[in-house]
Symmetry: C2
Subunit: 287 residues, 2 copies
């Protein structure tokens, strides 16, 4: 599911659209050498980036937390529009990256337009298998430790990628991280949700998880659809015993989770909340 | 102390020495986008890289743990020699980086030759102030979790860099990470040591810390110098109450720690073990 393909177009702040076959980053770039870069990924529907302002706001927050100079959201929006026009595709994803740049130079900001994974809707129709992976962290100790960069979307993502490797090794496609004391946290690139009867559950942000842009939209859509939602610290057993579960992310949207650690989750098929809220998200996007 | 300067020379595997003012990495490189890159930094004394074989062995191990194709150590050694010759400096540092590369292409390996921080010996003569920073991790849970990449030197280093930011904010120059249950772990880019009478202490590798190449050399040099060494899980209070403390790393070598969390460590001056073992390291390097 995490298959990576070549970009449809690349734009660099201050330079505009560039040839994707040419390198853009120097050997001494702080993002390249030390993972000091902020990023955002979002989806483009019929040529229109969805929730771009919210993503750019979080990008600025992430950059600030890593002491990178704040990028100019308006300039990034213009660059995105220009790069999207060059890609000339209606439905795709956009990725913004702001790296620390070279010593004594400005940060480098660039946008890549990526195709959507072609198999995404087929996977949604059947749902994904997930494994739970211990993250070995104590959320209570992390609350007062801003240097741990909880809630910051940085390119220091090796552990997230290794979690996908481990999921694949176990015959699954996604992972759910668990804190040391047992609370469900998030997926490597998603937020996690589950339903029991008319109640939805999702880990709360004070666990140090990422405040997903799509998570915020799902909170609103769930309320409109008549679900009650509990945000909190929940043990893995509650997720395992749910009637259904799903993840949320900007590119994958709402993705049913139909198995957890080799056992069926709910009835082992995509559930009504996942499919209903996915349909509601698509209506919101088109509005 | 973590001041970053421009490289003296850059070499890319398969291309040889390149112009450092030109970019070498593409917008869709996995190391750039997701911190999926292994690296090693080592020191060059009088034109000779020290312990290069050990560093390249660890580089291959790190790459393997991240499922990157293993680089060829012999080819990297040749590239390093060629790039060092282009830099034409006797004393400097070398940094190897192996990134995941672009989709459906080979990984990218490159070497940068960096000048040594000019102030390094002045800092060694006075020692550094350090702060202890909670890492919020439970080492017991991490032992069986290879996806957490403990012991892997990846470029996903944003938290390490944020720790330096926090140290600076508190008027210090270095940090010592502490596990959730209170054990001393390591510095953001160093291993940590302290002495009480004739006994040296350093955190053991089963805490999930990096197996420093210089750490291994110091273990041997300490034995030769008549110190007994205890590797283990030690609370911060033992470091704070030590007669002296120091860090070890390939570029900084042995660096005295003279203050911890705003209190003097030992007599507040560089200690006999730090200075004696630093001298022994220099003799070993010259041998």
């Amino acid at each position: 599911m995490m298959s990576f393909t070549s970009p449809l177009a690349v734009g660099v702040l201050g330079r505009g659209v560039v040839d994707p076959s040419l390198p853009i980053i120097h050997a001494d770039d702080a993002g390249l050498l030390r993972g000091l870069a902020a990023f955002e990924t979002l989806r483009v529907y019929a040529g229109r980036p969805f929730a771009m302002a919210e993503h750019l706001q979080r990008l600025c927050h992430s950059a600030e937390r890593m002491r990178l100079p704040a990028p100019d959201p308006a300039a990034l929006e213009d660059l995105a529009e220009e790069t999207l026009a060059a890609a000339d595709v209606a439905d795709c994803s956009l990725r913004f990256t702001v790296t620390g740049g070279r010593p004594s130079s400005d940060p480098v900001a660039f946008v890549v337009v990526m195709p959507l994974p072609p198999e995404l809707e087929a996977i949604r129709a059947r749902g994904v298998r997930a494994v739970s992976l211990q993250l070995g962290t104590d959320p209570r100790l992390r609350l007062d430790a801003p240097w741990l960069l909880d809630g910051v979307k940085s390119t220091s993502y090796a552990v997230n990628m290794a979690a996908f490797d481990e999921a694949r090794r176990r015959g699954a496609e996604d992972a759910v991280f668990i804190a040391a004391e047992g609370s469900v946290l998030e997926g490597p690139v998603t937020n996690v949700w589950w339903r029991r009867a008319g109640m939805l559950y999702t880990p709360s942000l004070d666990l140090g998880i990422l405040a997903g842009v799509t998570r915020a939209h799902v909170l609103r859509l769930a309320d409109e659809a008549g679900y009650r939602v509990a945000e909190g610290w929940f043990p893995l057993a509650e997720l395992a015993a749910a009637d259904e579960a799903f993840s949320s992310s900007s590119v994958r949207e709402l993705m049913p989770i139909v198995a957890l650690d080799d056992a069926a989750l709910g009835n082992g098929r995509p559930g009504e909340a996942a499919l209903g809220l996915q349909a509601a998200l698509r209506r919101a996007v088109a509005a």
